[in-house]
């Protein structure tokens, strides 16, 4: 069926480019770990834990965001603008919802893979970070949300340069500001509230949420889910109109 055929295709690409995907998705987070975790934050304590254990969930959040987003955005954009392989799917009797679901799921797998690589490293260096089912739940939602946003961007963007702009103006600022490297409370009031509305913030908060109250633990996945649903629906609508 359509859905599994897209996953099958992505699995082939994954196998074929295994080493470049693996190294590509590990370099940036390792640098963050070294620079911020052990370098700047060595011996520092924050929110009652070692800084390294504070920053790892942040790095997981931003890496899975970037990987999920760019995998899908680039793959669709290239397939539309350069290789034209997008047309193969458009002429097929394939529902656009199925196409979107396949692409978004594939992007999420790539995001999860990069997340697990970081957690594996953290485990290797015995940082003592703890993972629970809620952590995994938030992680999956984060991947789905940013795959769906990547889907929209892949469909609407006209060139590779525009893609760079979106990354510079939206993705990169989120990566640094959404509670990834330092707590939200350190932000000025207005900025803090704006940032609170961004999806990645709730991933960072959610991934560290041990000890939060029930209401907060509900709000993080809730907001991510909202972004996910809106982005997916918008993506499919745009896809049907894409020429």
């Amino acid at each position: 069926m359509g859905f599994s055929s897209i996953l099958w295709q992505e699995a082939i690409f994954f196998k074929r480019k295994f080493w470049s995907i693996t190294t590509g998705s590990i370099i940036a987070p390792v640098l963050y770990l070294i620079a911020f975790g052990w370098g700047l934050g060595g011996g520092m304590r924050i929110d009652g834990t070692d800084y390294i254990n504070f920053v790892i969930p942040g790095i997981v959040a931003l890496t899975t965001m970037t990987v999920s987003f760019s995998t899908i955005a680039n793959s669709i954009n290239i397939s539309r603008m350069y290789e034209k392989t997008f047309e193969e799917f458009m002429v097929a009797p394939l529902n656009m919802w199925v196409y979107a679901a396949g692409k978004i799921t594939a992007g999420s797998f790539r995001g999860l893979y990069s997340g697990f690589l970081i957690l594996f490293l953290a485990f290797l260096f015995q940082t003592g970070i703890k993972i629970n089912p809620y952590f995994l739940f938030i992680l999956i939602l984060n991947c789905l949300t940013f795959s769906a946003i990547g889907f929209i961007i892949g469909i609407i963007i006209k060139s590779h340069a525009d893609m760079g702009k979106f990354t510079s103006f939206i993705i990169t600022p989120m990566a640094f500001l959404c509670g990834t490297f330092f707590p939200l409370e350190k932000m000025p009031f207005i900025l803090k509230n704006i940032i609170w509305l961004l999806p990645l913030t709730h991933t960072s908060l959610g991934l560290r949420s041990s000890g939060e109250d029930f209401y907060s633990m509900l709000i993080h996945p809730g907001i991510l889910l909202l972004y996910f649903i809106v982005a997916s629906a918008a993506g499919v609508r745009l896809c049907k109109k894409a020429e």
């Binding site: 599994s4 034209k84 392989t85 193969e88 002429v91 097929a92 009797p93 020429e243």
Partner: protein, 279 residues
Amino acid sequence: MLVVKDLIKKYGELTAVDNLSLEINRGEFFGLLGPNGAGKTTTIRMINTLTPRTSGLITIDGKSMDRNLTEVKIKIGVVPQHNNLEGEMTAWENLELHGRIYGMPKKARRERIEELLEFTDLTERAADLARTLSGGMKRKLMIARALMHKPELLLLDEPTVGLDAAVRRKMWDLLKNLSSSGLTVLLTTHYIEEAEILCHRVGLMNRGRLIELDTPKNLIEKVGKVVVEYFDNEGTKGEFFETREDALAYAAGRQGNVKIRSSNLEDIFIKLTNRRVED
């Protein structure tokens, strides 16, 4: 089988396809012949649903595209003008992907892939990445891919453009074989010879309009089977005749460099439009 009625496509001020109507019968090999920019690709893309129509109706076996999109799509196989293979997948995988998207069962998929690789002479290249194939092989692989799900109507947009003469001839043989198996084919081309050799009927297209539609034979007879070409200070000119004798008589009466030859589709095109098909 395919009915196109009053098809129009406008890009802003430009009318790329202007009130085009045609009917293609089951089993027919139909050609749209016209120079670059005539609107051939736009027509094909409206039939394969990639380009939205400005207005007009398209039905396949009586099913309208607006109401039965999925059913219509299953009946069509598409070979676009440009390469759109997955370059980082092998020839086999490209076919396999298509079969999967169209929901073919595993066994049927494998058999069909083997059969089509055989048919297109690509069996030995099955495990090579598509981007490493030659231009002609890529085109054949695209045809094989379009045939994967056993469509009833094959849309071929300039299938031999950019191929050298020998490869083009091989491609013609392949397309002829396809047609004799009963498949309905709609082909676009700006090569006169291609249309003459392959097509049962040809539609001449110019600036978005269909200006003539008939069998190649009838079209040629309309202008006269034999042409006498001569040169004067305004360039090459042609005069058409029903028989070789008439042509000879006329040529004998002219001075200078004259040439007698059988007329072809280009002659009709020039006569109707004052424009050449091939550049």
